[in-house]
């Protein structure tokens, strides 16, 4: 039997109106994607809190993708603008402590960009696969379990 290939776990936080619908369109158009992403639907990128990302890594994610409406297209007018500021800080902070842009990804995918969604999601999965499992985070998490057991 061939050596088992590493299959990354990618968690995608997507807004309901643009990216989720764009992903629906990709489905309706039967555009094939890699099966590694798990989408968590929220109303708006404005709802996505950085603690979600931390929790996703704690829950074993090897990569995280955050995606919403293009600037000016937000269903709630300005949610994605506030989200963008939030991510500007958060991605720099995570990068500063060693979680770089190969693990944490961002995109704008509109309801009509089914094809772009496929490209983004496959691109993220490929990048994360290349990086391998996020062992460093798993180590600190493992440590937690041991401490609790002891």
């Amino acid at each position: 039997m061939a050596e088992e290939k590493f299959e990354p776990k990618v968690v995608a936080f997507v807004c309901n109106w643009c990216t989720y619908t764009g992903a629906d369109l990709a489905g309706t158009s039967r555009l094939k994607q890699e099966p590694n992403a798990r989408l968590i639907r929220v109303p708006c990128t404005g709802r996505i809190d950085p603690v979600f990302v931390i929790k996703a890594f704690e829950s074993g994610a090897d990569g995280v993708l955050i995606s919403g409406c293009h600037p000016g297209d937000c269903h709630y007018n300005t949610g994605n603008f506030h989200a963008r500021r939030r991510w500007t800080f958060f991605k720099e902070l995570l990068n500063f402590v060693g979680i770089d842009s190969t693990r944490l990804h961002f995109s704008w995918v509109s309801a009509s960009e089914g094809k772009k969604w496929v490209d983004v999601v496959n691109g993220v999965i490929d990048t994360v696969r290349e990086q391998g499992p996020f062992l460093k985070y798993k180590e600190i998490k493992e440590h937690d379990f041991q401490e609790i057991e002891n």
Binding site: W17, Y20, D24, P35, P43, C44, A61, Y76
Partner: protein, 668 residues
């Protein structure tokens, strides 16, 4: 909590790639799941009955359906569950079709993913809480943006049903493009003759507030409760005193500086003008960019001749606000105009056709003006350059349409028909003239449409050539049209006297701006987007906002009118009840932990966060906290993510629910 899991095969749509029985089996052993089964069509009556039966037999508190996208059938399943006694907000959907079976081929990995997706939904539903819809009052007044035929139709329908309408048009007159047309296909009835009575009806209707030369400035609020600010641009003419006598227009010394918008630049108009004689309202506007008074402070001829003292050079833009219940966008289209040097333009254009450079290479709307009895030539077919009758006219279809490399991928839909009409009108007026049409395909699907094209070919002798035009240039006073006849397989060269380009229909440039004001999506071309292409074609993703006419996609007059009536009907459905039920997905503040930093207020796009004082029994102020006005909150949750202490939570997407969803992934 007892959760029921229902996995839908969706015929073969899900079942082909996802082992639905295995998903149900796996989930039946999952903590909290009291019942799990798979069925061919969950959304069908027997499928829904299955759910209802299980709810009763197993006493379920919550339901997860693994099926198509929640955008498709969430409502269906919520309703089914509600009828069986489970609160509709105790239902979650796992998207096994659009997000799983349709995008994967490998059965084992798709099945594994489907199990994960259902688990995520099960974990979320564990933290759902029964919710009640929010009831809000409905303002029974509609706003229609755009006074073309679509906007006129919507406004009249709603007004005739007895509801007040505010109709906003950015140009000085309503009428839109239809007022420019000569005759209309396939009946060849005069466009103005059928439109003008409608325009007058709008003007005289007691339920319609007509605001021309006005633009929507701001839209606040939500379905049933919009607050709309309209900018009434300064006309420099007092509309309440002007009688429309036209003396000012006749006496304006500036005659040649401004090109007539109505005549598509084929003629000029004065600085003070009424766009066309049948304009509604018949009140002139001063074009301040060309008026001498605004440049030098002199002239004032219009003021001198006006007996009513209606001219007001100092007039300012005014702002009007309206309480509105429903909004219909009918902002229309324009033609794709691209000349030889599309500098800074994102489109490549058709420089090789000489449009904008060769005087007698014109577009469809210009031909309409030439053919129109009210046009610059009084309906005589005379070419713009020398006012001579062209004996050979070439019509080129699909200029910009169906041509992604130079224009747009879509079909503009009306050009096949209007080109046939143009060629026919030409032949009716110039009996010895020759008309050639270059086409890609003839798309004449409408009542009496194909017969109309056949008539042009067979009765009027218009010569149709299947092929594209590669180049148009001037030689010895003739316009040489080089092309190809792909059926005969020969190259063509026609020495024409005039060329008419059927350029693509594109949205008005302000379309995307209006869409942003309204908070509705638009596609990459700028056409506004409906919420469902088949079943909700005139609704948008924002409640209470509807679409009519060519702002949505290219369409002809009957289609625009039908869509306008459909949009009006949708608005009237809304007005049919006094109270509107809204989704209970709104934010809520936990006052006990709120520190009153009001970052939530700063990020709220709806001004839904208010300040509330907390006082003790003696009336001493303890603190000031945030408070959500549930009527204004739209449920985006930006406040939730911004709040550092998580004292504000979005009902339906609370932290606990999302936490549970994320944590469920540790298993996969």
């Amino acid at each position: 909590m007892k959760i029921g899991v229902f996995v839908c095969y969706c015929g073969e749509n899900i079942g082909r790639t996802v082992d639905c029985a295995a998903v149900a089996k796996e989930l039946s052993a999952y903590p909290g799941v009291a019942h799990a089964e798979a069925y061919k069509y969950m959304c069908s009556d027997p499928g829904q009955n299955l759910i209802k039966q299980a709810i009763k037999e197993k006493n379920l508190d919550a339901v997860v359906v693994g099926s198509c996208s929640p955008h498709m059938h969430e409502k269906t399943f919520r309703k089914a569950c509600a009828s069986a006694g489970v609160n509709p907000y105790m239902v979650e959907i796992a998207n096994l079709r659009e997000h799983c079976s349709w995008i994967h081929d490998d059965i084992p990995s798709a099945t594994a993913k489907a199990i994960d997706l259902v688990r995520i939904a099960v974990e979320k539903v564990k933290y759902n809480e029964p919710l009640q819809t929010i009831q809000v009052p409905v303002t029974k007044r509609a706003l229609v943006i755009g006074g073309g035929i679509a906007g006129i139709q919507s406004a009249l329908d709603i007004a005739n049903a007895g509801f007040p309408v505010v109709l906003v048009e950015k140009e000085p007159s309503i009428g839109g493009h239809m007022s420019q047309l000569s005759e209309t296909f396939p009946t060849l009835d005069c466009s103005q003759c059928i439109l003008t009575p409608r325009m007058v009806e709008v003007y005289q209707h007691s339920n319609i507030t007509l605001l021309t030369y006005s633009e929507v400035e701001k839209v606040e609020g939500f379905i049933g409760n919009f607050k709309v600010t309209v900018r009434k641009k300064a006309r420099s003419v007092k509309d309440e005193v002007c009688t429309g006598c036209g003396l000012c227009v006749q006496n304006c010394p500036i005659k040649k500086k401004a090109q007539s918008e109505f005549d598509e630049s084929l003629t000029t108009r004065p600085a003070i003008y009424v766009p066309f004689p049948q304009a509604v309202p018949n009140i002139p506007v001063i074009d301040r960019s060309v008026c001498t008074y605004y440049k030098t402070g002199k002239c004032q001829m219009c003021k001198k001749v006006c007996g009513r003292e209606a001219i007001d050079f100092e007039q300012q833009d005014t702002f009007l606000t309206f309480d509105i219940g429903a909004i219909i966008a009918a902002t229309g289209y324009k033609l794709y105009k691209i000349d030889k040097k599309p500098e800074g333009h994102i489109y490549k254009g058709y420089g090789e056709y000489g449009y904008g450079e060769l005087k007698d290479v014109i577009d469809g709307l210009q031909f309409e003006r030439i053919a129109s009895a009210s046009g610059p030539t009084s309906g005589e077919i005379l070419r713009p350059s020398d006012k001579k009758e062209p004996k050979k006219v070439v019509f080129v279809q699909c200029v910009g349409s169906r041509d992604e490399s130079k224009g747009f991928s879509y079909c503009s839909k009306i050009c096949c028909m209007y080109t046939a009409k143009h060629a026919m009108l030409y032949k009716h007026k110039v009996h010895d003239g020759e008309a050639y049409v270059f086409y890609m395909d003839i798309r004449s699907n409408g009542k009496g449409y194909d017969e109309f094209v056949r008539r042009a070919i067979e009765e009027d002798g218009v010569k149709y050539i299947r092929g594209r035009v590669s180049k148009i240039y001037e030689e010895n006073g003739k316009y040489i049209v080089k092309g190809e006849d792909t059926i005969a397989g020969v190259r063509m060269e026609i020495d024409a006297d005039m060329v008419v380009l059927a350029t693509a229909m594109i949205p008005q440039p302000e379309n995307s701006k209006v869409a942003q004001l309204l908070g509705i999506p638009y596609d990459k071309h700028g056409f506004m987007q409906e919420v469902h292409p088949k079943l909700r074609p005139v609704e948008t993703s924002t409640g209470g906002i509807f679409l009519a006419g060519a702002c949505h996609s290219p369409r002809d007059i009957p289609e625009s009118v039908a869509m306008a009536s459909a949009a009006a009907a949708k608005a009237m459905v809304l007005f049919g009840s006094d109270i509107l039920e809204r989704e209970p997905v709104v934010a809520k503040v936990e006052a006990s932990t709120c520190a009153g930093c009001f970052y939530c207020q700063k990020v709220c796009a709806y001004s839904a966060i208010e300040r509330k004082e907390i006082r003790d029994r003696q009336g001493n102020l303890i603190k000031v906290v945030a408070y959500v006005n549930a009527g204004l909150c739209q449920g985006c949750g930006t406040c939730n993510a911004t709040c550092p202490s998580k004292s504000v939570e979005l009902i339906g997407f609370r932290d606990e629910q999302i936490f549970a969803e994320i944590q469920s992934l540790s298993g996969f």
